[in-house]
Amino acid sequence: MLAALGLDSVEQLFDDIPESVRARDLDLPEPRSELTLSHDLAALAARNRVDLASFLGAGVYQHYIPAAVDTVLSRGEFYTAYTPYQPEISQGTLQTIYEFQSLIAELVGLPVVSASHYDGASATAEAALMTVRATRRDRVLISRAVHPHYVETTRTYFAAGTRELEELPTRADGTTDLAALESALADTDRPVAGVILGQPNAFGLLDPMAEAARLAHAAGALFVAVVEPVSLAVLAPPGEYGADIAAGEGQPLGIAPQYGGPYLGLLACSQKLLRQIPGRLVGRTEDLDGRRAFVMTLRAREQDIRRDKAASNICTNQALCALAATAYLATVGPHGLHDVAAAGAAAAGRLEAALADAGIERVHAAPYLNEFAIRVPDAAAVHAQLLDEGVLAGLPLARWYPDDPDLADALLVCATELTTAEDIDRLVGGLGEAIA
């Protein structure tokens, strides 16, 4: 093969890679037997804490996952995490993606849903880029109460070129400052492409979405809602309050919290923005014999065909995680999903009351769904101490907002249908002792 390529050595294939960035010798241990290796891996796995009473949410939520979800996922016909590249022979996979799109469309109240993206952060960044393409404007406003990792990812996407990303401040009650939004939109010399708010926002609070959408539209901008999908069983769907695009993290739909992923980016839009949505779309049609068939559709927007003019540099999806969400939603059904969301909200209400009895107050006054910030003196140290005692006391918000003195002593705590009365007792008891 080297002769056919006109080369003398394999090394020549790497000539284009600068010496300074090439891999050095890999520092790997000696080979081990299967027995030794499984022993070593078991020891590593034993360091995971699975005994915690967890109040950690912060964008990733622990829910009960019905056994049917894993059973469907582990079927050999489906068990590939990769998107189909010769799709039409994989009718079963295409059908599950079509059903995924249909279920998410119903949940968000918008008609066009992509086959999924990497995670909530990349879906949010893609949504921001959609607003730029659709309006041919360069300036996007994002609330600081959108998940900070999503803001950071969007900032990375915006780093090159002329696009600008501006953060909108929050008010003392923790919601996005609409007066600031209004004045940012009023700068007609720098017209705004899109306005992005989270619902619930990064503090777990309910932001004034309908009003923000109205202000955005009045200035000719598009409105993007970053949503948590389980919450949509009890909150208004983005399509109802005028959002043009919905983005979000699909992990709560049947995907276990697992390190940084893999997770599931949700992205949906209005019919008008159909040509702007990046990623794969599966459609339903009929074959020559009139039988129902599923196809990848609108492929011409994608990178393998449109090269540098593509709607995104990503033309793949999270097929297996999308299947998990599909199996989850199909298993719990609309009533089940409503029960999950309502049970989480009820547990959070009990958590707030128990904390208040112990003298621990919320940071923000705005309404929440199932997650909120509390004020605990010396929050980081208390958090570490409780972790030693088997209680994961949410997230110290100073990690996300290191420069905000108002959040220096704040813990973001969340409850779901898995939160028990005993968990609440352990957290409140631990916090009470720590601050006494």
Partner: protein, 126 residues
């Protein structure tokens, strides 16, 4: 090759029909044939001002998607809404029902600088 003598042409395979300070723009029969069945044409909004060679839309066929370039500078005064429901007009009647935009020319003589039918025929080797 069907190339009406009354039109002007560009290397991007667009035709221009100049009339009374305005210009109607579409793509040539040759381009339509090369693209294959056209399934979607994205057109600009009325009132948009285009500079010469600026991308004003996208034409999508079953096998590819290509940008549409303004052959002359001007303001969009009309777009062919019929392409929304019947994009295949670009294939079936590229010089009539398949037109895309009508521009009010910044320079009424701008189209004169473009190729005539003979020059375009030569440029595509036909």
């Amino acid at each position: 090759m069907d190339l009406p003598e009354s039109l002007r042409y560009t290397r991007d395979h667009e035709w221009v029909r100049a009339e009374d300070g305005e210009a109607v723009v579409g793509i040539t029969a040759y381009a339509a044939e090369e693209l294959g069945d056209v399934v979607f044409v994205e057109l600009p909004e009325i009132g948009r001002k285009l500079t010469r060679d600026e991308t004003f839309g996208v034409i999508e066929s079953v096998k590819t998607a290509s940008d549409l370039f303004a052959p002359v500078a001007g303001e969009v005064v009309a777009i062919n809404d019929a392409l929304g429901d019947d994009p295949e007009l670009v294939n079936s009647e590229p010089y009539e029902g398949g037109w895309m935009v009508r521009l009010r020319l910044d320079d009424p003589a701008a189209a004169d600088a473009l190729m005539d039918a003979a020059a375009y025929r030569e440029s595509v080797g036909g």
